[in-house]
Symmetry: none
Subunit: 219 residues, 4 copies
DNA sequence: TATGAATGAGATTTCATTCAT
DNA sequence: CATGAATGAAATCTCATTCAT
């Protein structure tokens, strides 16, 4: 999947012309925002942790909120990115790709993503409810597009007879709940518990598969 | 279930000797905290919405954080309450109570609860990550106790052969994800979408039942 | 002229419910704004001179600009006030009131006013060019109304044959220039020179009278 | 009047070795200072409008105040310039030059000057009250010298019997008020009103002439 | 009990100025 | 000469909390 790298690179191409200091600011902001929340974090705290003068923050980000957005926007973009890889459907929906393999791929992919970008994701989740513009952007640019893509996939598996004939929104909700429930529990709520990741992934997959299995009717 | 009323009353018994003003303060705080978050809310804003003087808040709550706790504590208590109703197990686990009926009862109950206490729950969810004491309390007093109770229930249904032999933590996680996923989608994320509540509840129940069904192995 | 007092009182009636501190803030602000200009004055400077905490300023005036407006608005009002005294025209334009007496009355009145409210007037003059809203208000509420009143007066004196038949705007401009030129020179530009006020007033009056005299044509 | 050109050239001789950027800076500074005042203008604003980097301003002007002075000093010089043209008195006070013609010449000259250098003049007027050094310089180098020159002229016209025997300061004040009152009204206060310039100039001249006429006593 | 003026610590933001490139 | 990132001091403004009434 070389395309994936391209897209991620594109999302970050601005990071290229960032100063060292600016990168430090961004890093510090991500860390502290995710720990204390946006409103609970002061710019002086960020400046101190980043090792820059407070004024430097405002040379790069007009306001504190700008700084928040410059963290959240790429996080949203990266969240969508994998869905827009060229040949995405072609590969995933090939006859040889079972729903089970698809789920496994998705869960593992999202787990890695979550592990890597934990703080940014925490910020995204925590702050979206408090910022109307973000909420709007999120629904419009992320939710809707993600939904469209997933609908196609659900349709395909339903046609292939691997998934019960539920309306796509309901099917997606149930699948997403199960996956996110796992990821959130694993990384956000109880990261320090000792998880057998592989086993839990399998359990989650089997739960979804059986929950949506066509065979359930036959039994 | 007259006991339920008793417990709720107990949780609120202090509300009895609350002055009108104090009640107004609490109401206003709940509303604004849930909209803007604790750190994003100023006490003067609360005072204005409550129609009291700024100083009055501090007559009743030593600090702003006190006010937050006075909202979150009862919310946590109420969250646990139904599990501690006398005869809880007796009733729920009677031979005549199938897993399906149990799930239906729980979902409907939690839905009503969520609808009624939406703002308080939002505050609970949003603020817990930022306040170590709360996190500690929540895990100790709520999570653990809830888990204990649920474990008993899971054990029972597994013994009755209505649920696959998953370790209880995993089973509980999967059930909870599905239910909370529904409730959060329904009330927090897309409250204004038009939901067919009854139908979605049934879909969620069937999803969980099949996902955890013993029969799955036979198929 | 008891009405005059009433109007002034009205303009200040809010000063009644001002705290001591608020009055101090206003006084300090007037003084420093007039010395250093609005932009050149810091709120901390004002607070220090007023003997209050800086926060106190913002309890009474939402912004620094608010504080400026709370100085300028009444200054504009007071500037207009004398023109709106009941019976103003009746008295001034009575047959027994010559243009000369009218001019003398106006100059002396405005001199006293200028002497008394020097700093506020300086602020008004200095800041109006920099604040579009003020400029708008000033033209709409002050200039236009003042002009209307003065036009009536000019018309009357022209009808009485005491003033040449110039278009009122031009006549008013010439009279105003002469009077303001005197007042500005006297109080703003060279307050420390030794002026023989009475003599200069007379010279100014005679200058205007002859400048606008009907008899000039006869000579 | 070739001398006039010489003097102006002298005043600007530094502009010759100005870089393009420096000229842009000066232009931008004049424009913004006159709109928002010195204190209300930031150097970064000037840099942006001038299309240069922030640092560039400080290559050419050690401080922001330096930049202000580099605008105000030549403006003051130019204000005085016409008075120091060689043969100034000779020409103006020739027997063939009546007071009326003199006034007409002065008014028209100052009008053209005002029209051309409006922003610089605004800055001069606005900033002088706030900068003690400027005030000192202005009185010493400009006011006094201008006064001396004008006194000579007034004396001459009084001797010629074209002007009433007022003390020169008073005469100059009255003349200056009338002229400046017109110019300020015309260009600073109501530039967008439709003025019949020629007519208003004549009215102003006649007003002054009659106001200071010797014949007034005869009437 | 309730008020709301007052506080001062601290938050966000601005800005003139410096300096390495 | 020119740049623009960086600075840090200071400016504006916010806010939880106190206290006299």
């Amino acid at each position: 999947m070389p395309e994936k790298e391209d897209i991620f690179e594109m999302l970050f191409e601005n990071q290229e012309n960032m100063t060292e200091k600016q990168k430090k600011i961004l890093e510090a902001a991500v860390e502290i925002f995710s720990e204390k929340g946006y409103s609970g974090t002061s710019t002086s705290e960020i400046a101190k942790k980043a090792g820059v003068a407070e004024g430097t923050i405002f040379r790069h980000y007009k306001t504190k909120k700008d700084l928040l957005l410059s963290i959240i926007a790429p996080t949203m973009a990266k969240f969508m990115a994998p869905l827009f890889i060229r040949d995405f459907n072609k590969v995933l929906l090939s006859e040889h790709q079972s729903l089970e393999d698809f789920l496994r791929a998705v869960i593992i992919n999202r787990m890695e993503y979550a592990k890597k970008h934990l703080p940014s994701i925490k910020i995204l989740i925590q702050e979206i409810p408090f910022h109307a513009e973000l909420r709007g952007q999120f629904k419009e640019h992320v939710m809707n597009k993600v939904y469209e893509r997933l609908k196609v996939i659900v349709d395909a598996y339903q046609k292939k007879g691997e998934m019960i004939q539920l309306p796509p929104p309901s099917a997606i909700r149930l699948i997403a709940s199960s996956i996110l429930g796992f990821v959130i529990g694993r990384y956000l709520m109880f990261p320090e518990a000792d998880w057998d990741d592989e086993l839990e992934v399998e359990r989650t997959i089997q739960f979804i598969l059986h929950g949506l299995s066509v065979k359930q009717e036959e039994c």
